[in-house]
């Protein structure tokens, strides 16, 4: 590892620190300060991890689509690395939103899983980005890998509006997506804080992953010592 990549930039520490602080605050407010919800009671406190992880998965995948497009336009490897890092980070958030959603579904709907449009499309989105990562592993040539992954990254983003609007478009068991307009102020605050916490953590994850990918690429392009 080069000296340059072992030294953490100050910005990265700031992003991580902000994310962790906000997360601590948001979790505290969500679990202890906010009142239980009228219909669902305390179980709706799952919203504070479930909804932000869902939102940020979409944001991360949107970043994959944007940087895939930028890569195809400019052929700058850096954009390919950001797209890849965003997809992998988004997959983690996506898995987290699926898992917390299942834990929420059991006490409210009585089942762990339901084949409802929102859930189905979220699962499909997860599979799409797993496939995105699989594609990268099946191509050896760096340049082809970047191009094809970018093309697939743009194709996969078709699922984003489907996930985002599915609860509203189709007759769905899932409630319409929560926005600051649809939840009470006392729930809005922890939800908002946690959403920003997840955003900062996501930026840190992508940043860190990007550095690792760049280091990998530097290693790949360096010919082995003769």
């Amino acid at each position: 590892m080069s000296a340059e990549s072992t030294k953490r930039p100050l910005g990265q520490w700031l992003v991580l620190g902000t994310g962790v602080t906000l997360l601590g605050l948001g979790e505290y407010l969500g679990l202890f300060w906010a009142p239980p919800e009228m219909a669902m009671g305390d179980v709706m406190r799952i919203i504070y991890v479930h909804v932000p992880s869902g939102w940020l998965a979409l944001v991360a995948f949107l970043s994959t689509a944007i940087f895939s497009g930028l890569y195809l336009r400019t052929k700058t490897p850096r954009y390919d690395h950001i797209a890849d890092a965003s997809a992998k980070t988004g997959t983690v958030f996506n898995a987290m939103s699926l898992a917390t959603g299942m834990i929420w579904a059991k006490p409210t709907w009585g089942v762990w899983w339901s084949w409802d449009p929102r859930l189905s499309f979220t699962l499909i989105m997860f599979l799409l980005y797993v496939a995105y990562s699989a594609l990268r592993r099946f191509v050896d040539d760096t340049e082809s890998r970047a191009r094809w992954a970018a093309v697939y990254g743009i194709f996969a983003s078709v699922s984003l509006p489907l996930v985002y609007y599915s609860a509203n478009w189709f007759r769905s068991l899932h409630q319409p997506h929560s926005t600051p307009q649809t939840v009470d102020a006392s729930m809005k605050l922890p939800l908002r804080i946690n959403a920003f916490a997840f955003l900062f953590l996501m930026i840190w994850f992508i940043w860190r992953r990007y550095e690792l990918l760049r280091a990998d690429a530097a290693h790949e392009s360096t010919p082995p010592p003769a």
Partner: protein, 229 residues
């Protein structure tokens, strides 16, 4: 669409359909495979005729989906074996026209397959149709569905043909992308077969049209990046 683009498109479609016709053994193997798939669904689900009738649309689309993966992975085999795609792309032909031609040829092949499978479905799953107009409506749904399969399928086949483990990679890439298409196609097919008292079919057909527009546009725009020299 300018004239050269259109001429290339037509030339590619003609070439692909001609190859398909000259290698009829491949085509009949594909038909055999999809019919066998339809049979296997009825064996797997037991001989309950009501279940089959209710889910006929789903079986039809599963059969078509599996067959389309086989057809698509073959789509670039001839080119890959003879490095002929590079040759086509070395000519002044527009890569986008090559894509449209290949995708259109694949869609027509799948449409032919669908047209053969629909009567099989009617017989095997005891689905009744009232008259030719009903059959035509069913065929229109099949056409919308296979065009929506072919657009991303052709592009992804071009990618997977040049990657490692191509036969494994194509369905991994394609299936999650096609689930929404499959969902809409199955719903629309079921509504056409069983009747549509609520007028829901329009929603699913619009969704299919929307997928066609998006996937064909994306394929058209992105294919040059796939085959970039």
């Amino acid at each position: 669409m300018n004239a050269t683009l259109f001429a290339t498109l037509v030339a590619i479609v003609k070439k692909d359909l001609l190859i398909e016709w000259r290698t009829r053994a491949r085509l009949s193997a594909l038909v055999f495979f999809s019919v066998a798939a339809l049979l296997m669904f009825s064996f797997a689900l037991g001989a309950d005729i009501q279940t089959m009738r209710d889910h006929a649309g789903g079986y039809l689309w599963l059969g078509l989906l599996f067959a389309s993966v086989l057809a698509l992975s073959e789509a670039f085999r001839v080119e890959a074996e003879n490095r002929a795609l590079e040759a086509v792309l070395l000519t002044p032909a527009d890569a986008r026209a090559v894509y449209l031609g290949k995708a259109l040829a694949n869609a027509l092949l799948l449409l032919l397959l669908g047209a053969l499978l629909v009567p099989m479905m009617l017989v095997l799953y005891d689905v009744g149709l009232d008259g030719p107009l009903h059959a035509l409506r069913l065929l229109a749904v099949v056409a919308l569905g296979v065009f929506a399969i072919s657009a991303p399928g052709t592009l992804l086949a071009a990618i997977s043909t040049n990657a490692k483990s191509k036969d494994l990679l194509l369905p991994v890439l394609l299936f999650p992308l096609l689930v929404p298409v499959l969902l809409a196609a199955v719903k629309a097919t079921a509504l056409v077969i069983a009747g549509d008292p609520m007028g829901d079919a329009f929603t699913w057909l619009s969704l299919l049209v929307a997928f066609n527009v998006v996937y064909w546009a994306l394929g058209f725009l992105l294919f040059p990046s796939v085959v970039d020299e």
